[in-house]
């Protein structure tokens, strides 16, 4: 964001737990947005190029709102750019699903299917949380992600009911992505504290609804929802996959070459 154009926002009282939680959500959106940006000029069609870059733009917009808020809640006054460009890999707390490499187009679709169905439910549940700013964000973001969900649903069905090859790839993609979905609903001490104090709802109870909805789409696609034998975890604690380093290096490269640069 150009200097001098930041919106004027009132200061908010420090709330370290909520700051960490909001950072997680912001990291999910930022990292997935950055991954989707890697499709630009490489998508199967120009319409798909526009679709994926539009979705990425929305996600980065969500990340900006959330990370700027985190900087006010943790009392550091860091901006969204500080969070994106000056943290190390270990300081990112996104769910591992969001950093998975794009793979072929079907893998990206499967990742979008898992994330968008989660995000719509999660943001909608935030719309009723105790924090008014976060509630307003949740109501708004849920509508935007519902549009992305439509895109993921359509492609899942199109590929699943397409050719034998597209169905094979979609099946493989679901199997590749599914072990990473569980982490989105994982509870830890932070989430339990926030839920117990009534600050924000836990995502764990959303899992059944999520499973019902994605099963509906996958079934319509003529495929089956995988039952993974293992579940990935660690992203919320800053432990990432091997492919995460290059992604963050790419995200931060311009800022590192031109510290303090603006455009």
């Amino acid at each position: 964001m150009r200097p001098g154009t930041l919106p004027d926002v009132p200061p908010s009282a420090a709330h370290p737990d909520l700051a960490r939680y909001v950072t997680r959500l912001g990291d999910d959106a930022l990292v997935l947005g950055q991954r989707l940006c890697q499709w630009i000029t490489r998508a199967p069609t120009i319409d798909e190029d526009l679709a994926l870059s539009n979705i990425a733009l929305d996600l980065i917009g969500h990340a900006r709102a959330l990370l700027a808020r985190a900087g006010r809640l943790d009392g550091t006054g860091r901006t969204e750019d500080d969070f994106a460009y000056t943290r190390s890999e270990r300081e990112f707390t996104n769910a591992l699903l969001t950093e998975l490499p794009n793979g072929d187009f079907a893998v990206t679709v499967a990742r979008q299917l898992a994330y968008t169905h989660f995000a719509v439910l999660h943001y909608a549940s935030l719309a009723h949380c105790a924090d008014p700013e976060l509630a307003a964000f949740g109501a708004r973001a849920a509508k935007e992600v519902a549009f992305h969900r439509l895109h993921a649903d359509r492609w899942t069905v199109t590929l699943g009911r397409g050719t034998a090859e597209s169905a094979r790839r979609m099946r493989h993609a679901l199997e590749r992505v599914w072990p990473y979905a569980g982490e989105l609903f994982e509870d830890d001490d932070l989430l339990r504290r926030l839920a117990a104090s009534g600050t924000v709802p836990s995502p764990a109870p959303l899992r059944d609804t999520w499973l019902g909805r994605v099963t509906g789409v996958v079934t319509e696609a003529g495929l089956a929802v995988p039952a993974p034998t293992w579940s990935a975890t660690g992203g919320r604690a800053g432990l990432h996959t091997e492919e995460f380093g290059p992604l963050i290096a790419e995200l931060q490269s311009v800022r590192r070459q031109f510290p303090g640069g603006t455009w």
Binding site: G4, P7, D8, G61, A139, K143, E144, F147, L150
Partner: protein, 173 residues
Amino acid sequence: MVNASTPAPVAARRSAQEVRERVAALPDPELPVIGLGDLGVVGRVAPGADGVLEVEITPTYLGCPALPEITAAVRGILTSCGHPDGRVRHVLTPPWTTDRITPEGRRALAAHGIAPPVTPAPDSPVPVALGAVPCPHCGSRATRPHSAFGPARCQSVLWCTACREPFPHLTAL
């Protein structure tokens, strides 16, 4: 006669209503055919608790790339209206929807080849109902969705089967 010792003229302090009118007349950076007022993004314009004039803007999309430009333009209006310390607040509640676009704004969009939003059924995220959006070129309703994502975040692309022209449609939200 102005000489070097004369201080720079201070802009006359205009009323909140005048500031509001000028902000409402600013063109939207992504859709310059429509003013911010007709787009429905200008909220309350009134002094805050400390007496400083505040302009509320409701972003259309959270990631709208035009938002910094809009904010800077509103700041410019505040300064030129004698409120150099004025504030721009981004307000998310209630969220912006395409229902906020005024009839005048809808006419301006259609006149420039952008189909105004057609409100979808309640609770439906489906942006375009088949055949429901009239073509802004020939008026035919024989149109169909082409791409849910268009040239700007707020637009999808439809295809007119009568005049065979593609056209942007402001996605209903």
